[in-house]
């Protein structure tokens, strides 16, 4: 995983977030880099949702995750 993807996972492990809140927290990263990182997090299959539609991480990334 890229450092940005790892940072996103850490944030979602700490507390559930709307996607927009994640984006807001990383406005310093180019949009394309952020989308790539989000794709890494998605591919790692560690995301869950709460009732409000926020993302959270409850599992560990699989060893085969990109």
């Amino acid at each position: 995983m890229s450092p940005l993807a790892r940072a996103i996972v850490a944030e979602l492990r700490a507390q559930p977030c709307h996607f927009g809140e994640l984006v807001q927290a990383h406005m310093d990263a180019p949009w394309r880099d952020f989308l790539h990182a989000w794709g890494e997090v998605r591919a790692a299959e560690v995301l869950s949702r709460d009732d409000a539609g926020r993302y959270l991480v409850t599992a560990s990334p699989s060893p085969s995750a990109p």
């Binding site: 996607f19 949009w31 394309r32 989308l35 794709g39 949702r49 539609g53």
Partner: protein, 506 residues
Amino acid sequence: MSRLVVFLLGLAALALDGEEHFFDDKVDRGCHGSRLGQLAPANFGVGTARRRCRLPTMSAGFRDFLKQLDDAGELLRLSKRVDPRHVSALMAQAPQATFFETLDGYPDWRAAGALVSTRKRLAIAMGCPEHAIATRFEQGIQRPIEPRLVDRAPSQEVVWTGDDVDLTRIPIPMMHVKDGGPYISATVVVSKDPEYGRNVGSYRLMYRTPRETGIDLVSSSDMRVYYQRALDQGRPLEIAVAIGTHPFELLAASYKAPIAVDEFAVAGGLHGAPVELARCRTVDLEVPAHAELVLEGELLPTGWTADEGPFGEFSHITGEVKWNPIFRVRAITHRRDPIFYVLQMPWENDWLAAPVIEAAGLQALRAASVEPVAIRAPVGGCCYWTLVASIKKRPGEGKNALLALLSVAEVKLAIVTDDDIDIDDPDDLDWAMTFRVQADHDVLVVPGARGKHIDPSVRAGALGKGGLPTTAKLGIDATIPEGVPRSHYERLRYFAKDAVRLEDYR
């Protein structure tokens, strides 16, 4: 209506400024020498060469519509560099449609959005006055014109396959605060079934990874049927997604035509000319040749298993997380100087529903032998849940009209007035509802009719998974009651109003 009139309407759609409109400028449409890659930001690639190649030999395209908006003063150009994350917020502040000439991180792309976010701009797209969008739509769908296959497609000037396929190369913007991710909204999605043939619909695609999106395939649709049939056989469903087409393609895609009807023929009827299609590069499908961008790929045979959303819905509120199929992208093709169309939710979705719902209302009234004068699906009801109509009333027809209008789709509020009421004037409408309505006689409630999940008042959450909501429908007969003379509604007139002029006393 004759084909000639359809042709003239199509012509009007492309010449709102009243000037003769030549299609010579379609340099990228195969009837002229190539000028690709030299398009000035100011002209969208149309309107310069002036060689004659007139309608209706081909349908109008996305860039023609941008030029129409520009000519009408309805397009705001932003030349400063804009982050795609800020595109939607800027569009929301602009009174006009918005054209982004420079996108941060996407030097090869431009973007445009909020193109039909008002009734006025929808009317420009449809080439008719604002009051006539329903009849214009009706006329178009009654005269389908088969699409035409062409060899040369601007939408395939650039082709990405293999490792080049990467959705992050496209400036997919952020839209609403609580969206589950950025998504592609202005889609014309093509699929094919061995038995039913081609289908065209419009579905949102929320970004997942550089090669995958979700697809908002929750509601019943023909493509949902196609996908279910493929799923039952354990095979993927190939689809192609065109982005950046004329609004007529979007209107046809969102029109619930019978399953055997080709929506591209419906779009052709709206244009008054055939839609030109090109064969896709990696799937057995055809897409509008003049689209700005095309995604080719397949819906994986995994069913409704991927979380997607929430989306900002056309009901103006945030929806819930949905379970949807996954779209895996196999190829991306686009114009050499692509313009990414950001369909602004909810407004463009609302206004694109208006002609469909209004036309359905007109048809329902006529089927009930009621003569309509005017009809509106107001944006307060998201151009979907409310219909207001004025009619030439005979005794009892106020109620007949209500029953007819309440039978349309998920319309849950219908108001009927006489033809002396301007239904576009809220004060006039209030006046009619105040003085022509007795609640115990003129208000109709129909309980237990079909509802829609995204209306919070149907309490869909209490239904359990797969439950279908019902709704109560309300009709208000604001026509002059039977037995009350029309003279009782004669409006006040000022004495000597026509004898003196204010200008003479200034």
